[in-house]
Each structure stands twice: as C-alpha cells, then as structure tokens.
C-alpha cells in the first residue's frame, strides 16, 4: 500500500480572471497530521473543495490513495471524511437523522448503537433527538466531526475544526486528532487559522499564500529555519542590561523591560546565553521562546506581500 495518501501536482483554479489556486503541489503521507495554512483568501478552501470534488480544477491533477480523483471519485470519497468550512446540516431534522442520512450515503454502519456511539464521542448524545436548528455553532461543529468520522474513513479533511469551540472543546479536538493519527493510523489534513493548534499537533505542513505554496516540510524543519525570539526573565535586570551592552550579545538584544530581556537567537544560542547569565551570577527565572509558528507564518506571508 502506497504511503502517499494525497498527491497534488500543478493544481490551478481560475474563477474568470481571478487565480484562486496557482500551480500548487503538495504531498500528504499516511499517518500525517498535515497542517494546511494560509491567510484569508490564500486559496485554502478552494483547494480543499477541489480535493473533495466540490470544485473542478482548471488544470493539474489530484491523486488520493494513489488513484485519480477525477476517475475514481466515488471509490475515493468512500474512504474520506470531511468538514468543509462551517458544517451545515438539515436544520429541520434531528442530529440523529442527519447522521443517519449522511452515514447511509457514505456506506457507514447507521445502526442506532453506532450513531449514538459517535454522538457520545463528540459529546452530543443527550441532544441526539433535537433538531439541528436548536444547536449552537459549537454543537454543529461537533456534529460535523461526527459525520466526518461515522464511516471510519482513512483520510480526514478538516477545515477549521476548532472554530466556535471553547478552550476545553479545542483541547478535545486536538486530543481526538492525535488519537486518530497515532492510534488509528488515520491521515489528517488539517486547515486552520488557529496556528497554535497546528503547531501542537501537525507533523507536516504547507503554507500557501495567493494560491501558491510558500513553503512545505515538517514542523520541526520549518521552525529550525528561522530564529526565535527568546525572553529571559532575570533578577538584577539593570545590571544585566549593562553587561549585555558590553558583550557580544548586544546585537542580539531585541527588547528589554523591568523584568525581562528578549533576544533574537537561533536554537543552539539559547543554552549559550543561559550559561552566560549564570556565569555572570544572575538567576534566570524563566526562558520563553516568544516567536513560534505564528510569527513564522506572519513573516512568510508578509514578506511575500512586499
């Protein structure tokens, strides 16, 4: 069995004169939690809709499970579960009925036990017989996850799955995604604006902007490509400032405050600076890398915009 679950080559979509997706390549492998990132209007939703055959590409190819999506659509979609943007349901039907209908269409086991089990997993079993029009946004989001998972797909495409959820809900989604990936060996294609969510759970990611791929790789690789902003919380902060002013670390200093000094460092400079402060007799109360994937993401997209 091929390890490559999604293979996209030269994917392009034009809407009249607007190029929404421009010659995009991406690769998703079995077991990946693949982060699909980009600012608003970057072409993420368009790409996801093309992956799910909601939109037809202008050019390019999409292979899922090693098969052409164009020629094997039904066979492929039988193994794919998805949430596309805000999950919408038949509001005049109950959650149970919605799942039953959508599950039957996907060839899922739609026995009462199975549906109730799925609703229980997403925390909606007590509201199974309520019409979806009475659901909050967060509840619909959970129900969206339930319909994506009901038929036990191999590939799960999630477009902003945490939108509308409280922190506890977001945590539960993250844990579920990691469980699906690590324990059930599912492949997750995750699009999100909540970058910390991607950082915490994604194994690989791509950042797109204006329809084109900006960078693709493992999270670790991408983070190591750039410097971090590291904040040291110290005692005797004024003395520390003076020593830094007269040291090689002066050029690395970014900001200072009454309690902290922030430096732009690469990874292996962090312990070095830490040793410097300790040898100079300072107590280092904490070291906080401030720059994360969010900064990285913003930098990439801003630089491309210039």
């Amino acid at each position: 069995m091929s390890d490559q679950i999604i293979e996209v080559r030269g994917l392009t979509k034009k809407f009249k004169n607007i190029i929404a997706v421009n010659n995009l390549d991406l690769n998703v492998y079995r077991g990946d939690v693949f982060g699909f990132l980009g600012p608003n209007g970057a072409g993420k939703s368009t790409t996801i809709r093309m992956l799910l055959s909601l939109i037809k590409p202008t050019s390019g190819s999409i292979k899922i499970f090693g098969k052409s999506l164009k020629e094997n659509r039904e066979e492929i979609l039988r193994k794919v579960g998805a949430i596309v943007e805000k999950p919408d349901f038949y509001l005049y039907l109950t959650a149970y009925k919605n799942l039953e209908i959508l599950g039957k269409l996907s060839g899922a086991d739609t026995s009462k036990n199975k549906i109730m089990e799925m609703l229980d997993i997403v925390g909606l079993s007590k509201r199974a017989n309520s019409k979806v029009k009475t659901y909050s946004h967060g509840m619909k989001q959970r129900l969206g996850l339930a319909q994506a998972l009901l038929h036990d797909p191999e590939l799960i495409i999630l477009d902003e799955p945490s939108t509308g959820l409280d922190p506890q809900g977001m945590k539960e989604i993250r844990e579920l995604i990691l469980y699906l990936s690590k324990t059930k060996n599912k492949t997750i294609f995750l699009s999100s604006h909540i970058l910390r969510e991607v950082e915490l759970i994604a194994s690989r990611m791509i950042i797109i902007n204006k329809g084109s791929a900006q960078i693709e790789g493992t999270v670790e690789e991408l983070l190591n490509k750039d410097k971090l902003t590291v904040t040291f919380e110290l005692d005797k902060i004024d003395e520390a400032k003076l020593i830094i002013e007269n040291s090689v670390w002066k050029e690395k200093l970014v900001t200072s405050s009454n309690r902290e000094l922030s430096f732009e460092l690469i990874h292996n400079e962090i312990p070095e600076l830490n040793r410097f402060f300790i040898e100079k007799g300072f107590s280092v109360n904490s070291i906080i890398p401030v720059r994360s994937l969010e900064d990285f993401f913003l930098k990439i997209t801003e630089s491309n915009g210039k």
């Binding site: 659509r73 919408d88 269409l105």
Partner: protein
C-alpha cells in the same frame, strides 16, 4: 438510487412548506364542495335551461362526478403554484442551507443525486394530484353520489355513469404530466440559483407570460403558441369531449414529455458541471 430517492422524499416531507399544497387543496376542495352543496342544483338548471321548456328531466345530474369536474376545472390552473413551492426549493435550498458541502462529498455521483431529487419531486407531484383526486372525486362521490356527468365544452355533453371514471383517470393522469412539466421548469431554475424564491417566481412568471401570449389574438403569437408548454397542459380537458381526440392528447403528451426530458437533461448537465461555492 432507491436509497437516495427515499432520502430525498424524507427531506421533502419533513419540511412544512410541502404540506402547504396538500392543505390548500384540502381547504379549497371543501369550500367548493360546500358551495356546490347549496348552489349545485342551480348550476345544473343554468346548464340545462334550454331544455327545460320542452323536456322532463329525471335523475341526478348534480352528483360527485360533476363536483369533481368543476373542482378540476377550477383548481388545475392554480396547482402549478403549489408545485413550484417544492420544485423551486429542491436544489436551491441545499445551496441556501450549505448542505451541498455535506451531500456532494459523499461517495454518490452527482448524476444520481440530481436524478434522485428529480424523481422525488415527480413523486410529490403524483401524490398531490392523487390527493386532489381523492378529495375531489372520492369524497365528492361519497357526499353527492354518482350518476351521469354533465359537461359543457363547446357543446353540452352528458356522459353515462359507466363512461366517466376512465375519463377522470385520463384527466388526472394528464394533469400529472402537465404538473410534472411545471415541476421540471422550477427544478431547472432551482439549479441556477441559491435561493428558492427566485425559481418559484421565475416559473410562475414563465407560465403567466405564456398564457397571456397565447391569449392575444395576433397571428404571429398564435403561430408561436403550439410551442408553449402551457398550450398543451390544458388537454387534460380533452378527456371530457366526445369523441375524445386522442391524436391531440398524444401530441400534447409528447410535447410535455419532451419538455420534461429536456429540462431534466439541462439541469443534470449544469448540476454535474457546477462548482459548489456555497
């Protein structure tokens, strides 16, 4: 495919607006039956006034068959609106509600989806006309009994009692075909937009325009009128002529069926090619 049709029927019949048509027909038929209960004899007298000077008439011309015929004449022109309430909603509502994203990411072909919805819509049309038949013919016969059917269409015709039911069957059957044409048009409009109001209004506008154009006594428009489906929709009434002009009925049936097929094919093509952006 059967599963898809069942699902679509479930969706149709779980919406309250579907029952507007059944309710409206129920109310209207009851009102007409009540009015005829009090004034039906007078109606018969007005139809047979020319004979009353010279003839004695015995028997019951005011019966369930007459009531059913009058109901059919009165309602059939208005039923299209009840059809488009559902037809115009079938595709557009999925776009409005955003449920296309759920539905069309399932492992079923778009051709099956659009066909299943079409068939479910035709089933709705069928059930609505059957409901009309049950109320107007069935209930009327229970209330007013049966007998000969008197009809005035150009000339006065009285059908013997055993020569009536098959005519009603033909009339209702043809009405199903006529209303399916209306449904197909609204279904086509429904595929073009993301709001059900547009297809409803557009379909009724087309029907009204064609009816008006057909009625204007200008040669050019009269030459065009055989191409309007509305011209052919009314031939359900031909079953109440004697002799029945089967050639005319068959020709109109072919025209209507052709409209249905063409509208279905265009809708299916557009639906399959459509980018789902909602």
């Amino acid at each position: 495919m059967i599963l898809l049709i069942k699902i679509e029927l479930l969706k149709i019949f779980r919406k309250w607006r579907t029952y507007i048509g059944f309710f409206a027909i129920g109310v209207l038929v009851i009102i007409i039956q009540t009015a005829l209960y009090f004034t039906g004899e007078g109606y018969i007298k007005s139809l047979t006034r020319g004979f009353q000077e010279s003839f004695i008439m015995v028997g019951n011309l005011f019966n369930g068959y007459l009531v059913a015929n009058l109901v059919l004449n009165g309602l059939v022109i208005h039923i299209p609106f009840l059809i488009v309430l559902v037809g115009g909603d079938l595709l557009a509502s999925e776009a409005t509600a955003g449920t296309y994203r759920m539905l069309l990411t399932r492992p079923v072909s778009r051709l099956k989806v659009v066909s299943a919805k079409f068939i479910a819509g035709i089933i709705y049309v069928f059930l609505l006309i059957v409901w009309l038949a049950i109320l107007s013919l069935g209930v009327s016969c229970l209330l007013f009994g049966t007998g000969e059917l008197i009809s005035f269409s150009g000339k006065l015709i009285i059908f013997s009692r055993d020569d009536v039911l098959w005519r009603f069957a033909g009339a209702y059957g043809f009405s199903i075909l006529s209303m399916t044409t209306v449904f197909a048009l609204s279904y086509f409009f429904s595929s073009l937009v993301e709001n059900a109001i547009g297809p409803i209004v557009a379909t009724m506008a087309v029907i009204i325009i064609f009816l008006i154009l057909s009625a204007i006594p200008i040669d050019f428009l009269k030459d065009l009128s055989p191409y309007f489906f509305t011209t052919h929709m009314v031939h359900w009434a031909s079953f109440f002529n004697d002799p029945v002009d089967y050639k005319e009925i068959i020709e109109s049936a072919i025209v209507l069926f052709g409209h249905i097929l063409a509208l279905y094919c265009i809708t299916a093509y557009l639906f399959i090619k459509k980018d789902i952006l909602s």
